[in-house]
């Protein structure tokens, strides 16, 4: 247990420095004996401490680099042309440079969560006190699996989290320093650092989420977390409307507090996007609604509905301030990370700020104090709403769309700027001729990035044209998402640990990350539905958790209404915002610890080895966009959980791919005997970009296999894999022989067919190992 800033007054004390008299002492750590688990081998590991594990992983899962830029301009020796074997002025080669940029991205991602966690913990300590206990709810003994695993600290109160974050910050600084010109030259060592960054990122996220869950009373590992409203159609635009965007919930929470405290609940709509939306509904599911993921920012604001726009940090469109001004909404920035050049009004009286915003003396302000933001936002929204009727009711007419479309000069800039290569120009030209359908059809595939508009030589509001053309569809979006439940209970783990490790639950599939979908959001919904129906455990977080809630079945029900929220076969779970992701990695860790009784504390390598070889979990970040997504993914990899991204994910510029065709890559130690035995290509890849949805589905099923699967489990997993494959490709997959170890592995319903295939391949039975990659875990050598 660790405590900071606990002040003790001591009359006299003997210390190494001599006798102290009458001093005030601020206590750093009280060394309780009550955390009985002995310290493991790697508490607070530095960059080098887990390097050998990384190199083990990277030997099997090799980086494939796809340079997104062949030049480097990071120092004044540049630009250096690194293409086709050339080296930069610092000696770096292309592989080094690509891995270095990946490291840079992951450092940014990890720093973003760490900075967020730090600000959040500081705020919560200020508000709830340093002694505010960490409480993840009933049935949760291991409150912080990742933190314990990595640092060896068992956090009891908010103050303990400060120590954890100190470790995190130091590691990020060291990692970032590795990207400086003229140091590391080995791509593999850069990759090892990437994995380190991912690991500390999961610690940072865990700290942030357990802090806010504990202090702010979010659902505490609650399978029955309430359903909350999702989509534009759920908003009552006759009321004053506040829009919150970002990732740091205090300001949004204070808006809700102000409403509650002043009896205004129900009179003002609090509507959010991105993680702040998740978290404000976790704070108060009745007081707030979720509009949608990151890509809904512009379509929402351009409805004219929000009266006040409140932004905090991360994933906030950087020029929302302009968009807010266009609709006459007041704008409040709240984070030192996102000041927008605004005057700092934190120390001004609320009345003055409110007056200035209402009268338009200032259209945008910067306020660092959440409580003040809460009051200002609500009062301004209430005052502005009646004045802003015209904006809210403006609906684009068919005529207006056509009139705009007619101005198109066919320059192709829009198409050539669109990240999804959407046929924008053709759709605009169809509209010019009166046919709005092509425009409306783009709605589902448009990620709202506005690059088309930015490039348009006729200055057309192209994105708006799309949304207007799909107006009804957009306005009617009204769905449900289960509020983020937080962690998985120890009791749940105990119940499903066996079935997962033995393979009877065929896998845990986590849909995480952003909304940069290559072909619209429906893909990820369909994947989630498919695997939930197949009784995998489906978990979601962040923008992905919103997207999978934005579609209905024939009965009009969303996934969250159709499938239960408990961590069990056939569940569809929203763990929460982006910082809730460690509840997913943490669940894998808990399976190793609680179910399999592997020591947890500071025992990273063994646990990761366990997860890699035994826990059939896979992450799917279908629309992964951000640097955070990059570091979150690397945290999963180091722990042995593979991640699949969509096509845009290729811009992360490297995959980590196994080679099932190289038998020698797939040997493991049998922990019982110490023999090197073939474990099969399971999981086959660590970081994989799928080109299409069908490929992803097949790969998800495949990546859930693990060397330790029991025959029963392997048979179940194989049957899903084969079934999905056959559905799309009409035959048996051509690698079954690599996954069938004994006859008992063969799914019973496909026995004959598979046997025939195996015969053709000259298949032979192989033993099922007790797999590990760590020689030190071999129990008995033969």
């Amino acid at each position: 247990m660790s405590r900071k800033d606990l002040y003790v007054r001591v009359k006299e004390a003997a210390t190494r420095l001599g006798v102290l008299k009458d001093v005030e002492i601020a206590v750093d750590r009280i060394l309780y004996e009550e955390y009985e688990e002995p310290m493991g081998p790697t508490p607070m590991p530095s960059i080098k401490d887990l390097r050998s594990w990384d190199l083990t992983l990277l030997k099997r899962y090799k980086p494939f680099y796809m340079p997104f830029c062949e030049l480097c301009c990071l120092c004044t020796f540049g630009k250096c042309d690194l293409s086709m074997g050339k080296r930069g002025a610092c000696g770096l080669d292309m592989a080094g440079q690509q891995s270095r940029i990946v490291l840079l991205a992951c450092c940014i991602g990890a720093a973003t969560h760490a900075g967020h966690a730090k600000h959040l913990v500081e705020y919560l300590i200020e508000r709830y006190g340093r002694d505010c206990p960490i409480d993840m709810g009933e049935g949760v003994g291991v409150e912080a699996p990742i933190t314990r695993l990595v640092t060896g600290i068992r956090p009891r109160t908010l103050r303990d989290l400060e120590d954890v974050l100190e470790y995190v910050s130091n590691q990020i600084v060291h990692l970032l320093s590795c990207t400086h010109t003229g140091q590391e030259g080995s791509a593999l060592d850069f990759e090892s650092k990437v994995l380190h960054a991912g690991m500390v990122d999961h610690v940072a996220m865990e700290v942030a989420d357990i802090a806010q869950i504990s202090a702010m009373g979010f659902p505490k590992s609650d399978p029955d977390a309430p359903l909350v409203d999702l989509g534009l159609g759920t908003i009552d635009k006759s009321k004053p409307v506040i829009m919150v965007v970002g990732h740091n919930v205090p300001s949004a929470a204070c808006i809700v507090d102000y409403l509650v405290e002043n009896g205004l609940l129900g009179q003002v709509e609090v509507t959010g996007l991105c993680c702040t939306a998740h978290d404000v509904t976790r704070y108060n599911p009745k007081a707030a609604k979720i509009v949608g993921p990151i890509s809904w920012q512009i379509r929402y604001i351009r409805t004219g509905i929000p009266d006040v726009v409140v932004v905090d940090e991360q994933c906030v469109r950087t020029n929302l301030i302009e968009e807010a001004e266009k609709i006459g909404a007041a704008f409040i920035a709240t984070s030192e990370k996102n000041c927008q050049g605004l005057r700092d009004r934190t120390d001004d009286p609320v009345d003055d700020i409110v007056r200035d915003l209402i009268e338009g003396v200032e259209k945008a302000v910067l306020i660092f104090e959440p409580e003040k933001v809460g009051e200002v936002a609500v009062r301004v929204a209430m005052a502005l709403a009646p004045k802003r009727r015209s904006y809210k009711e403006s609906k684009a007419s068919r005529e207006r769309i056509i009139e705009y479309a007619k101005q198109c000069r066919r320059c192709m800039n829009c198409v050539r700027a669109c990240p999804n290569n959407l046929p924008v120009m053709d759709a605009v030209n169809a509209a010019a001729k009166g046919d709005l359908k092509p425009l409306a059809e783009l709605y589902e595939h448009c990620i709202g990035c506005l690059r088309c508009e930015s490039a348009c030589i006729a200055d057309l509001p192209i994105h708006s044209l799309i949304v207007w053309a799909a107006d009804e569809r957009f306005r009617d979006e009204a769905f449900k998402v289960r509020s983020g439940r937080g962690a998985i209970k120890d009791t749940e783990i105990r119940a499903v640990g066996g079935p997962i490790v033995f393979g009877e639950i065929p896998g845990v599939v986590a849909f995480v990350g952003c909304a940069n979908y290559a072909y619209g959001g429906r893909d990820i919904y369909e994947m989630a539905e498919e695997f939930a129906k197949r009784r995998y455990i489906v978990v979601a977080s962040g923008c992905a958790a919103m997207t999978i809630g934005m579609y209905r079945d024939e009965e009009g029900k969303t996934l969250y209404e159709r499938f239960p929220g408990a961590f069990d076969a056939g569940a569809v779970i929203n763990v929460g915002s982006c910082v809730s992701n460690p509840h997913i990695s943490g669940a894998a860790v808990k399976i190793a610890n609680i179910f399999a009784r592997r020591p947890l504390r500071a025992n990273y390598e063994e646990i990761a080895d366990y997860v890699l070889n035994r826990v059939g979990a896979v992450g799917v970040a279908w629309g992964a966009m951000s640097q955070k997504a990059a570091s979150i993914a690397s945290g999963f990899w180091r722990l042995g959980v593979p991640v699949i991204v969509g096509p845009h994910g290729s811009k992360y510029r490297r995959a980590l791919l196994g080679r099932k065709d190289r038998e020698e890559d797939w040997y493991v130690y049998d922990a019982r005997t110490g023999k090197r035995v073939y474990g099969g290509p399971a999981p086959e890849h660590l970081f994989y970009m799928a080109e299409n949805k069908e490929e992803a589905m097949v790969m998800i099923a495949k990546l859930c296999m693990r060397p330790s699967d029991t025959t029963k489990g392997r048979a179940i997993k194989l049957s899903h894999y084969i079934d999905l494959y056959r559905r799309y490709y009409g035959e048996l997959p051509d690698d079954i022989h690599l996954f069938v170890r004994t006859l008992a592995d063969i799914p019973i319903t496909m026995k004959e067919e598979i046997l025939a295939y195996l015969k053709e391949k000259g298949w032979k039975e192989r033993p099922i190992p007790d797999p590990t990659l760590l020689p030190r875990l071999i129990r008995r050598r033969v």
């Binding site: 340079p67 293409s83 050539r416 096509p647 080679r659 790969m699």
Partner: protein, 177 residues
Amino acid sequence: MWRTEPWLKAEVPGTKKARVLEKPGLAASMLRRAGRVLMIVGHRVSEALSSRPVSDYVADIAEALNAHIATTSLAYRSFRERGLTVAWLSPIEAAHRVTDPDWMGLDGKGCYKAVVVMGLPYYMSWLIFSGLKNFAMNVRTVSLDRFYQPHASWSLRNLTTEEWEKFLDELVEKLKA
């Protein structure tokens, strides 16, 4: 001008850019001389051109060149039906294997001398070509999509659908000849 620029304007390449395949005839003879060819095929080959889907052209080309196909697209079935050597292998995996000089190809008979890419999202091809350009320097890479792919060794210009169809028609004709 825009014809030999990256189709997605911002996807600006480095110092070396693909040569343009102007004439189907030259393309055909280049491909015929290329040696063992692997075609990496994405789901967009299901797109229907005026007479037939792009996947048909892929199959014709593969047939004429004795090329192998790596794909995870739904066109997989049709390639199998045509009796082609096709593996369910994703673009990213296929490209990765091509960078390994020891990889003996889908039939285990030797490494590929050339890679033809068709039907992937533009940016994904762009990146895969970039990977091959820098890490499989001995392999010739060819884009037959209707967009200029600067990181390939050879690429078409940016074409209209009609121009592209015409190109593919002629290419197949020359290859069959």
